[in-house]
Symmetry: C2
Subunit: 319 residues, 2 copies
């Protein structure tokens, strides 16, 4: 197989032996692999792959077709179109993944869009619905709303009947975010004028959170899943937390156990695949690069101002 390989902070496409699935795993011929902020950190040596995953091949999500199955996995699954998150290794023509983590790609969806679905939608679903306990009619604030997780979060929140406020750096993507279901799209300076919010999905970090903490409704849930650009340290007013009985929490998906990822995938299968098949959820794609353009893809991804996902297309990709 061919894989993106990190070598001393540079990226190249190299040949590697194609692995074989062990019991419970499938081998997927990758069609598309998404880029994520974690890939940039990993390239610089700051965010190593979790144990059991390829140490030098980046990539945390993919779409493709199953080409081989391990013991315990129904051989009838071969040739099925799937997508999933992985600990690493997705930016390659082949990837091993536990069958329990697979999402079946609906027939109505192209593999290109599916390549950018899993990381963004599992992350946003976990943060909003599971950690954030989002309920119909509640007010949600999504910071960094233009990115992959942000655009997924806006759609999921709207699907669950929330009032969705999206926060972005400038007005470039306001119309696109409204089109995804945002009821209002604002700049961070406007947060101070908001009605109190029930759930905050914090993708930007400290600079944003320091303002948002004064706009929390009683029992608000603040879920921090990214600090891109906004810094990682912020001053919290504890009296404010006591008064509102707010809850501040955070997480990453990557380091979770096999079982936790399986459980989350099961929830997403049950609650999001139907809406996705019906076109009620979609994956905005900012740009697609060929595998051998991986350097350009990472450079493009690192720049602000794009809308939605950045994808790598494998040589044999077909929808």
């Amino acid at each position: 197989m061919h894989a993106v390989v990190i070598d001393q902070e540079s990226l190249r496409v190299d040949e590697r032996p194609t692995p074989s699935p062990t019991p419970g795993q499938v081998l997927v011929a990758t069609a598309y692999a998404g880029l994520n902020a974690a890939d940039l950190l990993q390239r610089r040596g700051h965010y190593p792959s979790p144990p059991g995953w390829p140490a030098d091949i980046p990539g945390m999500e993919f779409s493709g077709r199953i080409v081989a199955v391990g013991a315990d996995v129904d051989p009838g699954w071969i040739d099925r179109r799937v997508c999933a998150i992985v600990g690493s290794g997705a930016q390659a023509t082949h990837v091993l993944v536990p069958a329990a983590h697979l999402l079946m790609v609906p027939e109505s969806i192209e593999l290109r869009d599916a390549g950018g679905f899993a990381e963004a939608f599992l992350t946003a679903f976990d943060a909003l619905v599971i950690q954030g306990e989002l309920r119909e009619g509640q007010r949600v604030l999504v910071s960094g709303a233009s990115g992959g997780v942000g655009t997924a979060a806006v759609q999921i929140a709207a699907l669950y009947g929330a009032h969705v406020t999206a926060v972005t750096r400038d007005g470039t993507h306001d119309a696109a975010l409204r089109d995804l279901g945002a009821h209002e799209v604002i700049r961070v300076a406007d947060v101070a004028t908001l009605e109190p919010v029930d759930v905050v999905l914090e993708l930007v970090g400290a600079a944003h959170l320091s303002i948002v903490q004064d706009r929390l409704a009683p029992f608000a849930r603040v879920v921090v899943i990214g600090v891109a650009g906004g810094g990682s340290r912020t001053e919290i007013n504890l009296l404010n937390i006591m008064r509102t009985r707010a809850r501040l929490t955070g997480s990453t998906l990557r380091s979770r156990s096999h079982d936790e990822k399986a459980h989350l995938s099961e929830r997403v299968r049950a609650e999001l695949l139907g809406p996705w098949a019906r076109g009620e959820l979609r994956v905005p794609v900012a740009a697609t690069f060929a595998l051998d353009e991986v350097d350009q893809a990472y450079t493009y991804f690192a720049q602000p101002g794009k809308f939605g996902k950045v994808l790598l297309e494998m040589p044999d990709a077909s929808s």
Copy 2:
């Protein structure tokens, strides 16, 4: 009745009409009333009584005997020994309280100790067991462990089978805290050497929390219920929250709804009254002052270094 009255930040004992219970309420002839940090704030005009409670009579907990009942309340309850939290008004010879908030004082317990039970034990139970989801075998850190809530928290955590670390300002009360169930008693500077903790009960505030946040176990719960002395603003490391998936929350009891207080009282009745009756929980009393010594009582309460509760004794108090 006689009541402590706040008048322009000074305290005096004044005569007031004795109120009559409305449906669902009882009138209690108070025996003892506890002092709490909120009383000092209220005296300075910073923490007004919640709506529906006496605006100028302080006191959030008491013990005594029921002397009259409103419609809907069993007249057989008259003369029963009870204690409870109230929104305000407990520092008086008589107090009205919803029957749903009453705790029956076990026969083996004196009314003096019962006067300091409700606020401390309801607060600590709510914070550790309900908000903190404390489980047997977990590690608990209690800051400000020598005060009313702190001494209650140490005992509840030990009762639930946790490993309890108490943090106090100096070594004066180390032996007494071990006697209540603390497995170790340390200074804040020693927190940096602790094994990671599962539940933090934060009674001191920012100065303490800024150190504790680096000693959190995966899925740790940090519950802030006081900022006495430690400041209310602290810098939080969001990457740390994401990595540990910790949860920071906080609350006060006083502003809660009737139903919430009733539900909490019901849990405490079911889970703590038995251990209290058997001597497995107790109320350390730092000092007791007569009602007309209320000024001295507040002055004594405001000083650091005491251990346990400070109580006001009513003229007709009997155990």
